[in-house]
Each structure stands twice: as C-alpha cells, then as structure tokens.
Subunit: 208 residues, 3 copies
C-alpha cells in the first residue's frame, strides 16, 4: 500500500468515526433521519470546512472528493438503523476516535504549513480541524462543547500539532513525523481516558 493510499484510508476511517459520534448524539436527542445524517456529516467534515474557509483552500476539500461526503452520510444512515450495536462497541470507538483526533490534527497542521502559515497559526488550524467538528456537533444539539470541559482531548491534538510543526522546522521526513504525531495524540488520549485524567479547572473564588 502506498503512502497516499494509507493516508486516504486513515482519513476515511477518521471521518467515519467522527460521523458515528455525531450520529449517536443525534439519535440521543431524537432527531429525525435527516437530522442524524446531517449531524454525522457536520461532525465529520465541520473541522475541515472551518480549516479550508480560513486558509482559503476553496472549494473546500470535502466538496471535491465524493468519498468525503458519502462516507459520513452512509455512517449516519447505518447508525440510524443499528445504533444499539454501535453503542455497545464503545471501547473500540474510543480507540478509533483517538486515532481520528491525531490524524485530523496532523492533516490540518500540514495543510496550514503548505499554505505558508507560521508555526503558531498552523498549530491553531490543526487543533481547529481536530476539534471543530465535535464543537459543531455539540452546538447543534445545544450542549456546551465537551472538548472545552471534559478530559484530555484538545491537549492531545495540541501535542500532535507541535510535533508536526517541530518536524517541519527540522525538515524531518513528513511521513515519519505524521506517524509519530498521530501516535502521541492517540497515546495521550487513550491513557488519559483509562486513568481518568482531566485538565484543571479554575479555582472557585469568593468575590468579596
């Protein structure tokens, strides 16, 4: 399997997983079949849409390759009919979601660098690509985005973007850097969930 094929496969898998998380949220809120598919697609592609609109990479990538749209639509449709089984696979789901998180962070950072954006901006775009879809999902079902107050999630994406930015600065091999970055995000996410780590919240204060 060539590198390009590998990346495409990882991309499609990441999209499918994010789509499932969106569809499950929609089923939970009793949306209709269209709402389930819409939330699946928005969760899977929303981060990339924000990335492409801010970079000026238009028409957005997900619009120009039919597989990027068909994958989350079909994933949403499947969840609509078989969601009990999906919910039962929650451990597998965590693992694939963690891989998708790392992958989206890497792909977003890489694309920003290719558009001439500096290190800090590229890292920001990488994080937005990775968590943007989940934020859109939560806003659409009227929740405060989970990523902003639950567990180590965005931090894992942040680390992946830092690895990519440093790797680019040191002119290291792109593929090696990408795999390393995805592994870093994946490991931190899975371990933090397993150990129940959480990011600190601000101390409550008495305003005298």
């Amino acid at each position: 399997m060539s590198t390009a094929t590998l990346l495409l496969v990882l991309d499609i898998v990441g999209i499918a997983v994010f789509a499932v998380s969106g569809a499950l949220a929609a089923v939970d809120k009793k949306l209709d079949i269209f709402g389930v598919i819409f939330l699946a697609v928005a969760t899977a592609l929303g981060g990339g849409f924000i990335r492409d609109a801010l970079l000026g990479a238009t028409p957005a990538a997900a619009l120009t390759d039919w597989r990027y749209l068909a994958t989350p639509a079909i994933a949403g449709l499947v969840v609509f009919f078989v969601h009990p089984s999906v919910a039962r696979w929650s451990r597998l789901f965590l693992l694939v979601d963690a891989a998708g998180l790392g992958l989206f962070a890497v792909a977003g950072t890489r694309k920003a660098i290719d558009f001439g954006v500096g290190p800090l901006g590229s890292s920001a775009i990488g994080i937005l690509t990775a968590i943007g879809g989940g934020i859109i999902r939560d806003i659409l079902v009227r929740e405060i985005p989970h990523v902003l107050h639950r567990e180590i999630y965005a931090t894992a994406a942040l680390l992946a973007t830092i690895v990519v930015v440093i790797g680019d600065r040191l002119s290291l091999n792109d593929v090696v850097v990408a795999i390393l970055a995805i592994c870093v995000a994946f490991s931190l996410r899975v371990v933090s969930r397993w150990k129940n780590w959480a990011a600190p919240t601000a101390k409550a204060v008495n305003l005298e």
Copy 2:
C-alpha cells in the same frame, strides 16, 4: 420580464421571507430592535454566506449587491413594528417559505456546479444554502435547529438539488430545470405540512 429579472425577484422574495422568519423568532425571544434586525439578516443571508465561504466565492455575493442586505434589514424592521399582523399571515408565510426553500436550494446547487464541484458536493452545498440560515437562526436563539427534527423540510431541499444535478448531467435547459426543481421542493413541503408528514426518528432501544 427577462429570466435574470425573474431570478432576482425570486431571490429577493426568498430573502425577505427567511428574514421574516428570523425576525419573528427574535421577537418571540424578546430581543431588542438590533437583535431583531440581526436575526433577520443572519437567517436570510447565513446560508449563502456559508456557501460562498466554502466555495471561495468571495467577497460573498450578499456583500456586493446592496439589495441583498437592505431587503432583510428592512423586513426585520417592519416585523419589529407590525409583528402581530405578520403572525396572522401564517398560511401565506408557509407558501412563500416553501418557495424560498426551493429557490435557495436551486441557487446553491447551481453555483456549486459552476465552481466545478461534483454532484454530491453540489447537492450538499444546495442543502446548506437552503437550511443554513434557519440553523443559524435557531442556534442564536438557543434552540435545537427545527430542520433537524421537525417535518419534511430538508428533504424537500434535497430533492430540488437532485433535480438540478441530474438536469445538469443531462444538459437540460437551466431555466426549465430550475423551475421544475423549485416546484418539486415547494410541492413536497406544502403537501407534507398539510398532511402532517414527518421524517422517521430512530427507534428507542433498551441497551441491555
């Protein structure tokens, strides 16, 4: 009346109707006069803004023709002062809204095709153009978007985009295709409302 003039008139009418729906939601939530006008404009133009940002059709169309901005602003202002009467016209409102839905779906799909986007991507953009403004309206007043869980709405937009995509593939006359697509969306929307049709929701399941 020339075709271009007809399209402009339909566009302006569609914008006005969506603006009224936004303004009514704002009045209902007791927003101030600015909030009413803002919600009117955001509902009317939001779908087109999303479309243009994702296609790279910038500066966005609604920014370059003052009538696109003036129409929803004035509609919002009128609703602010005369909303009881507007609410009384709910049957007329349904009909014009159904026409606006079809029109926005057609216009969005057509524009995506002109930007070289494929059939699936063009259909997605058409749907986003038609329902994006309503989703923004509902998010701003903190509701789960109606289009995701109420009645046949997005489905009507979807059918219109399919007609346009197929018409384009078969190289049929643009104007004929557009009118047919608008009629399809309009009829499905009005009949579904009249017959109280709704899209199915996922079956509740007992997770043993």
Copy 3:
C-alpha cells in the same frame, strides 16, 4: 510612534480585552484550562475570522501574525490563574472593551472597503467583526448572545462603521476618520452603560 505602530498596539489591546471577556465567561462556566484559552482566542479572533472568510482575505490575518494568536492565548492563561482580580477591574474593563469595539468596527469596515465591497456591505462586515467574537463566545457557553438583547452595544459599532463609510466617500484622511469613528463608538457605549440606556424591544401583543 508611527500610525502603523499605533494601529497595531490598539489592535493588540482590543484583542486582549475581548480575550479577557471570553476567558471570564469560560471560568464562570467551569471550563477547564484548555476551554478557557480556547474561549479567549475564539472571542478575540472570531469576528476577524468571519470577516476574512467572507471577504476571501485568506489565509485569515490572525493566522499570519503570531502576535494575534499569542496575545489572546496568554490573556486566557492569565485569567485562568488570576480571575478574581480581573473581575475586580470591571470599570477599567468596560472602558477598554468599548475602545476595542470601536477599533474592531473600524478595522473591519476599512478592510471591506479595501476589498471593493460597497457601503452597506462594508458596514455589515464592520459590525460582524466587532460583535462576531462575542456572539461565538456566548454560543459556546450556551447563552443567547448578549449583544442581541442587552444595552447599546452593536449600535455603537454601527455608528462607527457609518463614520468610516462616509469618511471614505468624502475622501477624508483615513487616520482622522478612524479616530473619530472609534471615539463615537466608545462614547456611545460608555455613556449608554452609565445612563443605563437600552435598545427598545418589540411590544408584547395578544394574538387574538
């Protein structure tokens, strides 16, 4: 100090203040440290991101100058640790926020004019730039945006954009016009807060 330096300083100060307002909202909702920084950055830069995506000014300005990203991130971090003191500075905060409002309105309008957008469109972009970040902040913490139903806020931004548009039409000196516009927005905002002015809301009606 040159004009360019002055504008940069004002810009950075405006970003910092909006970042503080976002971070305070995040602390109030008990978001974690990442959530606080994210909300700070989104509030500070969100309006500019919307502006740049709609104008096609990509990659977005805040991505290409690291200071625009570093400033709100650091402001968010500081608020996370010292927020009681920040809350105590509420009067100073009002003043700087009012200056930031005027500044963002002016910068947005000016950029739209430079992109060839007409008066009404430029005014709309100026308002979006000034209030977009606050709207994103409120949506993320699940509030109806304050700017849509509280006090004279957007109206102050609107007046600033009108001053800039008229100044451009009359070919007046850019810097003089900008300062005048900022003063107008600043004064209206501070005076309206001091006098407890509010924009009118629609009259409740009995729908017989």
